[in-house]
Symmetry: D2
Subunit: 235 residues, 4 copies
């Protein structure tokens, strides 16, 4: 199974860092974000990787990662400009096989990917989404009775009945048909698959992910990596 790593995002939330450094090449401890991702994928025996990038970071990423040999993986590149995550996947269709992993390039996790793959196969899913039951909401939320009385209030709670998408999906080839220019895999493709009655499954995990797309998360990820002395153990 090949992995399509989404690494072309603008990184506006990490501005001004991302004016100088692409998000996937921000260092955390001894390694760059993308190197942790390659290490993670390799650990789970996913060694054929397609980097979905934009022109802006193309030269630097190619120089840094090359064909992947240095990291004991095979890397191909697919360059597309601002056509959405699904658009980028569609544009890379020729490089992807019958089944492929979609991995958001700003996500770090130590979720068990082998487990997720087995779950996907067992479920005969068209698309399986890794979903965490351990990610807190950003806000204070309440449950409110008819008369307005608050029966429950929690600041930044984990809401068990709403697990959170971690930015890791396994897709069967069929999904490609849905990946049109200017569409997003989460905003449009997954909801449409469900609407069309395709078997979309959630791989639920109590592991969490770190989307390093914000300074707060980036700091958290740095702290975790330091505490684990550079090893890739985020939880």
């Amino acid at each position: 199974m090949k992995a399509a790593v989404l690494a072309g995002g603008a990184g506006t939330r990490l501005y001004p860092i991302t004016a100088y450094v692409p998000k996937s090449l921000i260092p955390i401890g001894s390694h760059y974000v993308i190197e942790y991702i390659l290490e993670y994928l390799k650990h789970y025996d996913v060694r054929d990787i397609v980097m979905l990038i934009s022109e802006k970071e193309s030269d630097l990423l190619r120089n840094h990662l090359g064909d992947g040999k240095r990291f004991a993986v095979n890397i191909e590149y697919s360059v597309a400009e601002r056509i959405g995550t699904a658009g980028a996947i569609g544009a890379a269709a020729g490089l992807l096989g019958d089944r492929f992993l979609v991995y958001y390039g700003d996500v770090l996790t130590d979720m068990n990917l082998t487990d997720m793959i087995e779950f996907h196969e067992r479920s005969r899913a068209t698309c399986t989404i890794a979903m965490s039951t351990s990610v807190p909401m950003e806000y204070g939320v309440a449950r409110v009775a008819e008369d307005g009385r608050v029966t429950y209030f929690e600041e930044k709670p984990i809401i068990k009945e709403y697990p959170v998408s971690m930015g890791i999906l396994i897709c069967e080839k069929e999904v490609i048909r849905y990946c049109k220019p200017d569409t997003d895999i989460s905003h449009e493709v997954v909801p449409q698959l469900i609407k069309d009655g395709k078997p979309v499954f959630a791989y639920l995990t109590s592991k969490r992910h770190y989307d390093i797309g914000t300074f707060k998360n980036l700091e958290e990820a740095k702290t975790l990596v330091e505490q684990s002395k550079g090893a890739f153990q985020l939880s």
Copy 2:
């Protein structure tokens, strides 16, 4: 009714701007965040304001706002260091009356405050929390059947059954007793009030707020203010 404006936060998510400018003194269009807040409170006839601040921004805020006359309000100051939002309210107890508004100093909204006050009185609440039913979550979320099948998936959805706290509360004097050093009004005080069976109510509104604590929200608020040609209309 007096308003206690929480303006002592560190603003880490707006770093490095906040290394040079306190969050409440960031400009948006023609005015500073705190000036919009004063304007908002005055519009709803809340003219007695206690700024809860820390030493760091004390001189600058006092120089900027003075006693409030320039803005046709009365401003007092209460300085306390890193003792939590509820701690700061407790420390200012002597300046607050029998009923007071708590207003987070990084929040902009055009929610109808008169309406909320009337609701608070009608409900005979000890504490009423303004809660928006229009704030999207930061993540993709799903509902998942027993077998793992996804029956619903939405990226950054508004979840109606979980309205979001806007950082505006009306409190009866009784709440002060709960405001001990190193506690937070949302994390500790509100949940404890509910636990103790006090009447805590939610004032539900379809209006939303902008917490300018992140660059993304700050940009959104700037755009909205520009579109409304500088007037204070956020939605």
Copy 3:
């Protein structure tokens, strides 16, 4: 004598702060840069001030400073877009009198302005430039003998024979004629005045200035203001 304060610069060296806050409204201690400048000018009895600004910061500056009464000065505004410092002065000609001070809006100093004015009058100068003999160069420099041997080397030296312009000039009305669109007072106007044989004088001072246009200088100015407990004493 009126003062023309150049406050329309883009502030690129203070980026990303200046994406959110105009340079002249950056706080240093208890006051904003422009407030220190107004205080300085008022101290030397220069109370009629023309702010040379661009559209971008116009609303915020007008809201902040108003007509100047709050600061016991009179403030007028002249808005012009990217036409250079001399261009902006030329565009404001109607607001300036027979003699005017040009003051760079990112400069703090405690040079004796009365002294400089007296020197200007005594010299019967068309233009007098405040020049400091206490500003170190940014580099390591050497004096080199014919054969290449270094006879003197100093890192970041003060070079006495090359005093440094502080961004404060006194001009007679005649200078206006030289202030054409897209010209700079330092790059073009002063050299041309000299070329034309006009009496251009240097007011030499051992006081230095802080151009808060860079983070390094901004930090230095902040430290100095803190050490002097908020009073405006930079040296």
Copy 4:
């Protein structure tokens, strides 16, 4: 001849970028600053490189550069904490030979290094400093007659009689004796060598360097690299 590359600086002027990325690992076009430096040194057949670094960036640099084979050079590392540039050189004395190059890790240039080495040998210098006659000063400067009249004024001029140190020096082993903890090669060592009558020479060049230590210079360097289509040609 080995090269000692000073890569342990704090990079405060490039803050906040350098809170996340060491200065030598900032990307410019397709490559990182340090990769351009390695390429430059290799081009002039300097292939034995000692990186003088601090603990903070040690793991990341070692991971990125390794033993240098990937770049066809040999890299060793010397870790020392905040003991000055000369202190760091002194601490690495055992790794350096009878003659060594000192190269500031934030400097890019295309000065002819072979020429400089030949000049050094011909001059029988103890220390040769690369000095540019093409670097403009940061300020407006004047020459002033006895009576205060300005005879010359130029904004950001190149001052021919004061060439500027580029951060590249060739040193004979003897220099090591001067490299004590908490001393700087430019501030203390070079002036002391001159004082002691040692033959210190300037290699004068009309080529300039880019010290990417500031945003302005970093932007300039980026523009130059883009214009030269990624090749290492800065002038």
